[in-house]
């Protein structure tokens, strides 16, 4: 029968035990992951199982790294997201956190766009470092993402997004995420992308400032291809700042909505039986 060992389909005999296979293939492995979860007990392997053997502390070779990075994914996820392309418009608190989450889950290609550079005031919530102050966010985030997952293809656009260039820049993505700061920019992106790519979903965020309760940030369907994250009311303004925890909550709502879309699931859950 066939199973996947470190993401490579492998023929094994029916009745093969998990730990005996480990002892045969990677006897030094001290971490055994079966179907996305650590295996503590020996078990008879089944057709289609996905197993990964890891030697703790050992840096794997490039041919093995990607499969080991995805070892804790739910089985089947990595193969799907690896083929996907996601656009991220705006690389601030939302966009940089969305990018990190999607790179970690192994989305194959990310299209990143932002005209701005990293500033000290960004570091309270955005996924950059002190030594990146002054760099274009596209360049800084590309560096950081490649350190996290070198297998993600990254396309960058250090430009101001407008209704004129949005269609061309994001024409190849499967899903677009809106991660702008300004209300006008958010609405512009929605209208421009919906006009040029009416059948593709866009995941937006609106209402994520301050330190209101996390559970007031929700994922809602606003239209056939419009998913909206946030509480819809709490704006960034004098007296109400933007901070890592709640911006991060919203960003990860967006990233999870993207993941669900790529996996063919309803991003909100209201269309599932």
């Amino acid at each position: 029968m066939q199973i996947q060992v470190n993401e490579v389909w492998t023929e094994i005999a029916v009745g093969t035990m998990l730990f005996s296979l480990r002892d045969k293939i990677r006897p030094a492995a001290d971490v055994v992951v079966r179907n996305g979860a650590p295996a503590k007990k020996d078990i008879v392997l089944e057709e289609g199982d996905q197993v990964v053997f890891i030697t703790r502390g050992e840096v794997p070779g490039p041919d093995e790294l990607e499969s080991l990075m995805a070892a804790r994914h739910t089985p089947g996820v990595h193969a799907v997201v690896k083929k996907a392309a996601v656009g991220i418009a705006g690389l601030g608190g939302l966009g940089s956190a969305i990018a990190v989450a999607l790179a970690r889950v192994g989305v194959g290609r990310l299209v990143l766009a932002d005209f701005d550079v990293v500033e000290p005031s960004n570091l309270n919530r955005q996924q950059y470092f002190v030594d990146q102050i002054g760099m274009y966010k596209t360049e800084a985030l590309q560096q950081n993402l490649q350190r996290i997952n070198p297998y993600v293809e990254i396309e960058t656009h250090a430009v101001m997004l407008t209704s004129d260039n949005v269609p061309e820049i994001f024409k190849s993505v499967d899903v677009l995420t809106e991660a702008f700061d300004t209300p006008d920019g958010k609405a512009m992106l929605l209208e421009a992308f919906s006009k040029s790519c009416p059948d593709k979903p866009i995941v937006m965020a609106s209402g994520l400032a301050g330190f209101e309760p996390s559970n007031t940030v929700v994922t809602q369907r606003m239209g056939q291809n419009l998913i909206m994250v946030g509480d819809l009311v709490t704006a960034a303004r004098p007296g109400t700042g933007l901070m890592a925890p709640r911006v991060g909550v919203a960003a990860h709502h967006q990233a999870n909505a993207v993941l669900r879309i790529l996996l063919g699931k309803d991003p909100v859950g209201d269309k599932e039986s």
Partner: protein, 92 residues
Amino acid sequence: MKVTVNYMGQLKAAAGKGSEIIECSDDAALSDLLAAAAGQYGSSFVNIIQDETGAIRPSLIVIINDVTANKDASPSLSDGDTVTLLTAIAGG
């Protein structure tokens, strides 16, 4: 004709309701509907959707029958349409 209007977020708070049916003329367009909605409520509602000159704010998001509308084109409406209105909120 009758159009169902859904108010979300700040507009819901300003209108004091989440949804209502607005009667419009048979040849009404989106701009007519927005003017009708604005006429029903006070300045807190109007200031969300219009600027000081009375122009529709760029931050307004309009969904007509589940599809994002180009609000500047003021598309025509039909009897039974559902229009969802919300404004994008600063922060990202």
